[in-house]
Symmetry: none
Subunit: 213 residues, 4 copies
């Protein structure tokens, strides 16, 4: 019989003997009372950028959407399947989170591909190509800038894309209304995989700065 991946089983054993053993009551409570996470994090699928690790979050704290390049598409009530919009709706309307964090990170493969002028469709459906076209206008502007290095262009687009996603969050009528009523707060964050640095977006200037911690 095809076996479940061993590294996952080994990890699960550690979980049961470690974190779960320590937090048995917390898990039971969360199961009985349901979740009430304070924050929705929209993060990248990248294996190096798990929000639970970076924010040292335990069970029940973060509701998490993960897709390529931690993007939010604009509001499109067209009857199609919208994975990210559905999760957004659930977090906002059902769980009533008070904070939404769009968290990007350095060396993001999705962003890199959006900046690659020679990128070929990966498949006839070209799901990645379509998905990354969400940042295409910004990518084209940045691509044409030849005084910045490739790495600088990438970091720049990673941050521009976070701001794009925050703009798109505001295209959802209910999020916009809740934000105006002061009931929900939108944040941007960017994580540097190499140095471990966390940068957060200043709400007014929309610059990324290192928070005091």
């Amino acid at each position: 019989m095809q076996r479940f991946p061993n590294p996952l089983l080994d990890g699960y054993r550690n979980f049961m003997n470690g974190r779960y053993a320590d937090a048995r009551d917390r898990y039971r409570q969360l199961a009985e009372n349901g979740q009430s996470p304070h924050t929705l994090v929209i993060a990248c699928s990248d294996s190096r950028a798990a929000p639970e690790l970076i924010f040292d979050a335990g069970p029940g704290e973060l509701f998490v959407i993960r897709n390529v390049a931690n993007m939010v598409p604009p509001y499109e009530p067209d009857g199609h399947f919208h994975s990210t919009s559905a999760a957004l709706e659930f977090a906002v309307q059902v769980l009533k989170v008070s904070d939404i964090v769009v968290m990007g990170h350095g060396r993001c493969g999705g962003i890199r591909s959006a900046l690659d002028p020679n990128a070929e469709p990966l498949s006839p459906g070209d799901f990645i190509g379509r998905w990354m076209s969400l940042v295409k206008p910004a990518a084209e502007q940045i691509q044409s800038n030849d005084v910045m290095t490739a790495a600088e262009r990438q970091t720049a687009l990673e941050r521009v894309s976070i701001r794009n996603s925050i703009n798109n969050l505001r295209s959802f009528p209910d999020i916009k209304a809740l934000e105006e009523a002061g009931k929900i707060h939108l944040h941007g964050a960017w994580f540097d995989i190499s140095t471990g640095e966390l940068w957060v977006m200043d709400a007014e200037t929309r610059d990324f700065i290192r928070p005091e911690i």
Copy 2:
């Protein structure tokens, strides 16, 4: 100025003094060499079911998609934005993962809403309703069964939905081909939030059983 959520800053401080301090070289290496995760995990956005915690996974190990009810839609190369399909494509074509795990969990709010005959649309776009309609046929069959309790119906649908998603993974031509060539392996898993139990899908019977650990 609107402040970045304090619980996240506190958690980040712990991360820097703990896990990052211990794994500084690993993070640096992952940044320089890029990620090469062995496994793609498609998990629920639920705050109680983070795969990194449950599989005690460190940076670089798991590429993770998270949406409501950890679902994979069928292959639809229609030019729309497909968050989940794009991430799938990236994991399979670019990162060439060897394993894909669809991981569901108990007490899933999305699944519960799919079983609720009186569920009202949450918004004009009804993103959740549309998204959960991916399991509608199965939900209707299970809903009509009144000898099982509500909780039993929910567990049943959580597992049926994992099998559905695995079927949908096979609707992607490249995944189907790679699986037939023995280059990619599809797995199902289900996590019990209350007891911490992990159940995995037997590849042949498609039943969920507790693995030896």
Copy 3:
């Protein structure tokens, strides 16, 4: 001469040198004073699900009814021979047990046959067919569900059948009255032969959950 089965004689020798030797006084006392078991267990005849083993019960503790699929028929005071109802009456009226446990188990052959749409009568009397018709309405509902696997349907019916039997216990006027007076407690339990797990029925939700032990 036809000999008594050797495995039983060997086992009896172990009993005399082991458990009986250790509990000689207990057996003598039980013989003199009569039994006063606290609990009636209605269990399956299955060779893998003996309640004395699973509950590590010594002599005098459990009054036990065992039939196929651990079922209780509804109250039928019709003057026929009722093996199970007679034993129930004895346990409740004569022994005055305080607890009744209906204990099912996984991979029950009787339940499997109830779910088999092609099952042929085993004999002209078709005793098994008749007996298993006690769960026929539930079996038909579950049979028609083709999104659950065969094993899932079986587990579901095993648990539904336990609830059915508990309902049938309440059709006995004296049991109903004693329960309402708080003098008798009805429980459901389900044993997983493969993993050794015991699940017990929550009295309110009627779900099966793993007890803390």
Copy 4:
């Protein structure tokens, strides 16, 4: 919430740490391959006479019917629910056991009530009265014998009843045929709760004798 009986949970804990831990592979095998018990034991529901204890039997060895006074009714293919006949049919036709043991025991409450000339119906349905009427003709003969003590009369009826049940087994056409073909063997046994003595029925004389062990 109404709690599952503590003595059972305590016993289950012992089971998991003891017998199950030692026989984990055996249980798993039995789950996967199904049961194939060599012997059907028809025993009394009495809490002091569990066949698994007396024959030191592990999981998978004995298929067990337990009712009051370990009786087999005559073959009655009348379309009613027959708990004992259904279990017999399952053991013989499906599991194809090679041996059937009717095991009585001393100080049996059911037999005592059958010998009590003043016994009142316990309920309008009088399930016990009806059930014990299976030995009524023999009971009346023995009752009228006033040179034997009460205890002697009881032991006598306990043994007569075992022979009755073996006769009734032979009223089932398939059991009769299998016995004549040498494919199934019928045995009687009687257990003395007080002394732990096991007596077995000599197949020819039908006397109860102590086997050499």
